[in-house]
Every structure is written in C-alpha cells, then in structure tokens.
C-alpha cells in the first residue's frame, strides 16, 4: 500500500533529477537567508552555483547539533518568525535545548511523510490510532498525530504515561494501531498481561515504534506479546521528526523518503562520504525544509544504506536499523542524554573535579538510569542530613538537566572505573545488539 505511489516508486533517474533540482533551490534558500550557512560556504570557497550535480553536495560544510546550540534559539531559521507556525525542541547538553521551527509547508511535508509511513505499514482511514508518544516539545506525539489525522484515521492522543488508562482506552476504544517507543510497547504488553486482558479482546494489529534504538529480537518479542506487526520509524527533530524513514512489511531496512531527505553515509572520523553498503554515520540534507534548512546534518547515528529496489516495490534508498552512535549520546526513554550534562551539573554544585558514572539498564522493559557520583571533599558534609540534601539536590538538578528521572548514588572517590587515565562514563547494560 502506498500513500504516494508516483513518488515512492519513482525510477532512480527521475528521482535524482527531482533531488538535484530541489537541492539547488535549497542551497540557494539557505545561502541567502541563513548568514551562518553562507559564512560556512564562503569559508570553503564555494557558492550555490558550484552545486551542479548531487555529488557536489560533499563540498558543502556539515551541520552539527553544536551548530544549532551555538545559534540558539533561532539563529539558523531561514524565515521570519511570522512564517513559523510550530516550534519543537530536543534536550541539550547544557540545559539549552536544540530548537527547530516549521513553516506551514514544513508541517505539510511532515504530515505527508508520516502518512506515507502509516500507509506503508498498512494503516488507513478505517484505523483507530493510539499515539502514546509524549506530546509537547518532543516531536514524537504531534508528529505521529498529524500524519495519522492526514490519512483520515481516528486518532487517540493519549500521550505518554498513565499505563492502566492507556490499556483501558486501547481496549474500550478499539485501538488498531499503536505508536510509541519500543520499550513502552513492551511495558504496555506487560500491563495488558497483568490486567488479565486476552489479546483477542484487543483490536491492535500494527505498531509503529521509534525514538530509541531497538533490535530484531525486541521486535519479535513485541510482535508475539501484542499480536501485532511491529515497524521501526526513524526520525530526528533536527531533520524533521519521526517519518524520515520507515520499514515496510518486507522488514528489510527503512525506506528514506528521498524526495525530501537526501542521505549520505560518512566516515565519522574523516567526514569522507562512504560507498553504498558501508557502515558509517548518517548525514541528512532536507530538500524541501523552509523554516530551518538542514543541510548535511550529522546525525551521529551509525547505519548503512542500500539503493537496491525493495520487494515492496519502493525505489527509495533503505537504511539499516540504527546500530549505535558515533558520539557518547545515550537515548534513554526516547530522551537524548549526554554524559557531559551530568558533569555540568556537578560543576554547578561546586565539585571541582567531577567524577561520575552513568549506568543504563532496562528493567521490566523500562529504561532506568543510575548516576553514581563520587563524593569529593567539596561535596562532603559530615552530617547524614547534609549528605541526603546533597543527594536530593543532585538528583533534582540531574533530572531537570537530562529531562528524565534518575537514581543518584553517592560513592567513594576512585570507586569508579578509570581506563587509561580517562574515566569510563557510561555502562549501558541494555541489550541492543541483537
């Protein structure tokens, strides 16, 4: 099933022509409206006229999450705020989020992409779609919501949390499609089992899961426990949000909607473009985005791509399920977490040489984060009350900065592993390499 068959099954040659035309316009748009982009191009000694073929894109400078932070909040917007109709943001390392803005047309493109995703996995206007992604600054909830409305489905915007109610609504409202993070899907499965609800009493048949890395075994587990077909949806707010790519019923890679997103895979060390099939960092260029042009955005997500035509008939490039990250970012319950965020909290609280360790685990299908903090003399009080206050202040500050709840454990100095003089900051016990 296709939402837009002409585009989704377009021959490579025609697709590339469309891409080049859009790329040239996009580079012009950014060059003339985003001074920071123009500066980057000028530093490399190139102008929009130098982009004559798709391969010329490799001469254009990269854009990173740091660039967005440095231009916080609106420094890379290409249109006046009067043209921006929606703003989303994702967590940042120093308390400042990464801000993205959408014009009315950008939202239309986003809805179109999500509509393609939903249609691709077999959802349609007859479906009741429960969106259990968080609604708010996070792109998950509203992204899926508008795409689901666009295909004419009945949308239940439950947002995240309140699991018993989610299960009740799923049963009573007859939800047929569930959209959430894969770990929350498993958590819901458990709640359904606990409440003694049989799968036959539910109408659920399809799941669209994303916003955090997951694995094939996890897909199989979700599919068997919820009795559904589970699909991986990929996206990131800097590029658009969920809906950049989706895996079709062939479940053999995620189709990237190449008429809107041009993909490259690079060597994260050298920045050189890698050949088809090689594993590296995904880099996206939005071909149609007006509000915040995203050109050669380094996702830090590791994957590989193939241009082989898929069994489903779609011609668009497929990416493998994301294998990991090329930086130290963790995705915990759909939230981006950088270890350095914890460091900034400790520095703020007067620790002169902060030592900490993040332990991420998945217990009962929910990600949990423990932050171990070495108690230095700067932080030490010889009273239990003082230490408890310290623990609580740390937890609050860390939770606020990271945007997720954590358990803070105070440990003795040097209790934490050091490797080659450099502290090991993260232990990820979640099994993601299945």
């Amino acid at each position: 099933m296709y939402w837009n068959k002409r585009i989704e099954c377009m021959e490579r040659g025609e697709l590339n022509e469309l891409q080049l035309d859009r790329l040239q316009k996009m580079i012009q748009h950014a060059y003339h409206n985003v001074p920071l982009f123009r500066d980057g191009m000028q530093e490399k000694g190139i102008t929009p006229q130098d982009i004559r073929c798709l391969d010329d894109l490799q001469h254009v400078p990269f854009m990173t999450k740091q660039d967005l932070r440095d231009s916080y909040p609106y420094g890379r917007f290409a249109v006046p705020l009067s043209e921006i109709v929606r703003i989303h943001a994702s967590s940042g390392t120093t308390g400042k989020p990464t801000v993205v803005g959408y014009t009315r047309n950008d939202l239309q493109v986003w809805s179109e992409c999500v509509a393609r995703c939903l249609t691709c996995v077999g959802a349609g206007k007859q479906d009741v779609i429960q969106v259990s992604y968080g609604y708010g600054l996070f792109t998950g909830g509203l992204g899926l919501h508008y795409g689901a409305e666009y295909i004419g489905a009945s949308v239940i915007p439950t947002s995240g949390g309140n699991t018993p109610r989610q299960v009740m609504l799923m049963k009573d409202f007859g939800s047929t499609v569930l959209c959430c993070t894969p770990s929350y899907a498993l958590y819901l499965a458990e709640a359904i089992e606990e409440q003694g609800i049989a799968l036959e009493d539910l109408k659920l048949r399809v799941g669209v899961f994303g916003a955090e890395p997951w694995t094939e075994p996890m897909r199989k587990e979700i599919e068997s426990r919820l009795g559904i077909s589970a699909h991986d949806i990929y996206g990131l707010s800097e590029v658009m949000g969920p809906g950049v790519s989706i895996d079709c019923p062939a479940k053999n890679g995620l189709h990237i909607f190449e008429d809107h997103f041009l993909v490259e895979v690079i060597d994260p060390e050298t920045g050189k473009v890698l050949p088809e099939g090689a594993t590296g960092e995904l880099v996206f260029t939005c071909l149609t985005k007006e509000g915040l042009p995203t050109i050669r955005y380094r996702t830090r997500d590791l994957s590989s791509i193939t241009r082989e035509k898929c069994a489903c008939g779609r011609t668009h490039t497929r990416m493998r399920r994301v294998l990991g990250r090329s930086d130290d970012m963790l995705i915990i319950r759909g939230v981006n977490v950088f270890p350095s965020q914890v460091e900034s909290v400790l520095l703020d609280m007067g620790a002169t040489s902060p030592h900490y360790h993040l332990i991420v685990d998945r217990v009962d299908n929910l990600d949990i984060l423990e932050v171990q903090v070495e108690v230095s003399e700067d932080l030490f009080s010889d009273q239990i009350g003082g230490m408890e206050i310290l623990g609580n202040r740390l937890r609050k500050a860390i939770d606020q900065t990271l945007g997720i709840n954590s358990k803070v454990t105070l440990v003795e100095p040097h209790a934490l592993e050091r490797s080659e003089g450099k502290a090991k900051r993260v232990t990820d016990k979640r099994k993601l390499n299945g």
């Binding site: 108690v375 230095s376 010889d382 009273q383 230490m387 105070l410 100095p413």
Partner: protein, 141 residues
C-alpha cells in the same frame, strides 16, 4: 574548647571500615572515640584520634573523602542524669545538637560525650557559665 574530629565518607559495603582501621593500625594511630552514622547507601565515620593531622594525611593519601570537623568533648560522671544536665543547658541556650556519641568505662566512673552543635562559637561559654567543663584536646587524647 573545640576538639578536632575526623569524618570519613564510606560506602555502605563490606570492608570499608576495615580499610580505615587497618591504615590507622599500620601507622600506630590510636583511636579515642568512634561512631558510624549509616544510611542504606553510605555511612559517615566520625572519630577522634591521638594524631589528627597525621591520620588526616594518611587517609587522604589513601584516597578517602574526609574532613576535619570541630566538636566539643564533655566529661560527665557516669551517673543517671549526668548527660541530661548538659543537654538542659544547651536547650536553654538555644543550641541544637547535630549529633552526639558517648563512651564510658566502668573503671573510670566518667563518661566522654562527643557533641557537634550548630553554634560552635557560643557553646563553650554557655557550658562554662553553667559549670560544665569541656575537654581540651590534650585531655581527650
């Protein structure tokens, strides 16, 4: 008169207290008083030793988080009501006790009370005005 106490942060796990006492034993440092305040995750070891600065150096070099805190030492008779009398005085002087630990030996007929209060500046005068003697460091070590 204030007495110097060493406070050490210890994780609440096997062998941590032993690690401290072992170091003190090896370096022939004598413990005069000791208490441990504990929570599920960690404890705070508080102790008075015969050579505070040397003990501090040794433990610090061994990587412990510790600090020197001032406390007062009060000598009381080993009789009913003796500590109560001291606490009544502190109460009247609006002085809060942050923590306290006490020792007595049957032979001496005296008890040593180590007290940490919120107003360390005022506590000596108040005790003295009420005829309660605080111990000098050399009296305790």
């Amino acid at each position: 008169m204030a007495i110097k106490q060493i406070s050490v942060f210890l994780e609440n796990k096997k062998g941590r207290l032993l690690a401290v006492t072992r170091l003190l034993a090896e370096n022939k440092i004598n413990l005069r008083a000791l208490s441990v305040a504990d929570t599920t995750d960690f404890g705070i070891l508080r102790m008075i030793v015969n050579d505070t600065s040397r003990a501090y150096e040794i433990l610090k070099n061994a990587g412990f988080t510790l600090k020197i805190t001032e406390v007062i030492g009060v000598d009381t008779t080993d009789e009913p009501g003796a500590l109560n009398e001291v606490l009544e005085v502190l109460e009247k002087g609006s002085i809060n006790i942050e923590y306290i630990y006490a020792f007595c030996t049957a032979q001496s007929g005296h008890a040593l009370n180590v007290i940490r209060v919120d107003k360390m500046d005022a506590v000596n005068d108040i005790l003295e005005q009420n005829g309660i003697k605080t111990l000098a460091p050399d009296e305790i070590v």
